[in-house]
């Protein structure tokens, strides 16, 4: 027996596995379909709730006019964010699992790169518009309601600090995803 045959023969001595439970497979398939449906409904519901929420704030009585304008701006920013997220942020369907591995993996790696780029550009399409809106909102209070300037300033600082933390988190995850995509590319490099 040659060394090649010996490797194959050795590999084939593995004892037969216990039989697969077909019902279990079907149940798992149904669970997966349910999970995907639930996630899609969740994303849709979040965008539906976000915009009216900010518009409601804009209509509150006693709000300084600049803050009212800012609330509408934030509401518009929420629309932009929802559309942007739907357009570029959602996970796209991968090719059928019966495609060749190189096609399948390429699609997945591209998806990870897309997600990284999506997060890397958050200052432009997420934090930028929101931060301007929030800044104007509190500026309205600072100009028209000097009696509450200290509280407004504190809330503005807290919101900006929160934005800062989220921004750093997004950029960190973007870097991590980029590294992951590169690691996958190296791992599945055909020339290696």
């Amino acid at each position: 027996m040659t060394e090649n045959d010996a490797l194959r023969a050795l590999w084939h001595t593995r004892p037969a596995p216990p039989p697969i439970d077909l019902d279990q497979v079907r149940r798992a398939a149904r669970r997966t379909a349910r999970r995907v449906r639930f996630r899609n409904v969740g994303e849709w519901a979040a965008s539906v709730v976000l915009v009216p929420g900010f518009l409601f704030v804009a209509m509150r009585p006693g709000l300084p006019w600049l803050s009212r304008v800012a609330s509408v701006c934030i509401s518009l920013a929420a629309v932009v964010i929802s559309v942007w997220t739907w357009r570029y942020g959602r996970m796209r369907a991968l090719p059928n699992p019966d495609e060749s591995t190189s096609v399948f993996m390429r699609a997945y790696i591209d998806q990870v790169y897309r997600q990284a780029e999506f997060l890397r550009t958050t200052p432009r399409w997420y934090f930028g518009p929101l931060a301007v809106g929030v800044l104007l909102f509190y500026l309205g209070f600072l100009l028209e309601r000097p009696d509450v300037w200290a509280g407004s300033l504190l809330r503005l600082a807290a919101t900006m600090a929160l934005f800062g933390v989220l921004l750093v988190a997004n950029l960190t995850v973007a870097n991590h995803l980029r590294g992951q995509a590169q690691a996958l590319e190296d791992a599945f490099d055909e020339e290696g």
Binding site: L7, H12, T13, P17, L22, T32, P97, S102, E190
Partner: protein, 171 residues
């Protein structure tokens, strides 16, 4: 899913069940994870069944799905940065044939081969697992999407590497 599809799935499980089990063992050194992967592979086959096109044979098709599902496990491993755990497993249980000493020796060598395969780069592991399942170079090229020449070169290199590792670890 039609009755015909259910029947087809059952046939695939019967025909390729053992080969898929070996494949999963090659991807996952931990037996519990290998069993999970095996379940995921069959789930993948079940879900992809309606998309089967006559361009491929059932064997090529099943192995394609299996390797893509297994590649997802590699992705998760890279994401988790976790290290596979090598367990002395029930794989060391005696085979039904041969003397007990020979069975034990075979099981130990097989476990070493499994460990060596699990340590390969993903694309190399995929190629060698398909080779060990007696698939032709053309079939392997079709499944992996790399050229036949590349498959041929790769198989030669990996076999030499595995043989060397087996010899070194048996000393």
């Amino acid at each position: 899913m039609t009755a015909a599809a259910r029947q087809r799935f059952q046939t695939l499980v019967t025909e390729f069940g053992v080969a898929i089990d070996r494949l999963c063992a090659g991807y996952e050194r931990d037996d519990a994870r290998a069993a999970e992967l095996r379940q995921d592979v069959w789930l993948g086959v079940w879900r992809a069944l309606p998309s089967f096109r006559e361009e491929a044979t059932w064997r090529t098709w099943v192995f394609r799905v299996a390797h893509n599902v297994a590649s997802s496990h590699v992705r998760r491993r890279i994401r988790d940065r976790s290290t596979p755990v090598a367990h002395p497993s029930d794989d060391l249980a005696p085979d039904p044939q041969g003397s007990p000493e020979r069975q034990r020796s075979n099981a130990e060598r097989r476990e070493r081969l499994r460990t060596a395969i699990a340590g390969l780069r993903p694309i190399d592991r995929q190629v060698i697992l398909l080779y060990l399942e007696d698939l032709s170079q053309a079939e392997i090229a079709d499944i992996t999407g790399i050229t036949r020449t590349n498959v041929s070169t790769r198989i030669g290199r990996i076999k030499a590497e595995l043989t060397r590792t087996l010899q070194e670890t048996s000393r």
